[in-house]
């Protein structure tokens, strides 16, 4: 009986922790084709613009940048800026993700711009890393094509068993 009680308490704690972790994050896969046109707000709930494109690093499949079209908010006409995916906070808003970016007008105004559809330019580290630095996101070198990077595969953390 005592053992059962311990197990139950343990289960409760685990589910509470799960809930805490998922709060404020989006608990589903995001369909790329549904992202375009999605509005982005800042922490003050001001509209910053809308998402124009999602740029994927081909080898590992990491989304590197989200291209945001900044509208009249800046009073500068339409401008496009590249923002690392992890700079956004995604949360659940009905059946769709809500996109929030911690940025005020000044920050967007000075952000690295994207000209046209010349996304190839953003592929090289030399071009991409400053964008990450601007948005205070740690640049992670894309993993090599087929294998997991050595630091990951030699990591002592055990993989969870189902």
């Amino acid at each position: 009986m005592a053992l059962l009680a311990v197990v139950l308490v343990g289960a409760n704690l685990a589910s509470a922790a799960d809930e805490k972790k998922t709060a404020g994050s989006y608990p589903a896969l995001v369909a790329a084709s549904e992202i375009k046109g999605t509005g982005v707000k800042n922490l003050k709930n001001e509209d910053l613009g809308k998402i124009e494109e999602v740029l994927i690093e081909p080898d590992g499949g990491q989304v590197r940048f989200v291209v945001v079209e900044v509208g009249g908010f800046l009073g500068l006409g339409a401008t496009k800026v590249a923002v690392p995916w992890t700079a956004f906070q995604l949360s659940k808003d009905g059946n769709k993700p809500k996109w929030v970016l911690d940025a005020d007008k000044e920050r967007l105004k000075n952000a690295p711009k994207v000209e046209g559809k010349n996304y190839e330019r953003l592929y090289t580290r030399a071009a991409a890393e400053p964008v990450f630095v601007y948005w205070r996101i740690i640049w992670v070198e894309p993993s090599p094509s087929t294998s997991i990077s050595p630091s990951l595969s030699s990591s002592p953390s055990p993989s969870p068993s189902p």
Binding site: L29, V30, L55, I56, E57, P58, G60, P160
Partner: protein, 132 residues
């Protein structure tokens, strides 16, 4: 999968809106279908699956299967991005299907991991999942 460094790599970023409809061929150079959707893990922005719409190749009518991104070989040939997948008709026939747009189902590790196993791609738990 015997992939070499030189075969792989498109040396450009792929625009998600342009991936849809990209033709996928297998190693026998048969056209097996086209990419219908790209599904992104929200926290880190890792593409987990590409949903492949398998056309008449199977003789089964249109079928959609979820394939881990890393199962594809993406190459750039004469300026165009090309997607290759090491999959015979038989392998596709038995592959885990996707019904409709119910992508939420593919989010939990319990649903996603078997698909990685099927395609022989190492499942990497999201940091969040791993921490549990």
């Amino acid at each position: 999968m015997n992939t070499t460094e030189t075969e792989r790599g498109a040396a450009t970023l792929l625009a998600a809106s342009e991936i849809k409809g990209t033709k996928v061929t297998n190693f026998q150079n048969q056209e097996i279908g086209d990419i219908d959707e790209v599904l992104i893990e929200p926290d880190m922005g890792q593409v987990r699956f590409a949903v492949l719409s398998v056309g008449g190749f199977l003789g089964l009518g249109s079928t959609r299967v979820a394939v881990p991104w890393r199962a594809f070989q993406i190459v750039k040939a004469s300026g165009k991005v090309k997607c290759m997948l090491d999959a015979t008709r038989e392998h596709l026939e038995k592959a885990p299907r996707v019904d409709g747009k119910n992508y939420e189902r593919l989010y939990p590790a319990a649903a996603a991991e078997p698909i990685f196993v099927y395609w022989d791609v190492e499942w990497i738990a999201e940091p969040e999942t791993a921490a549990r």
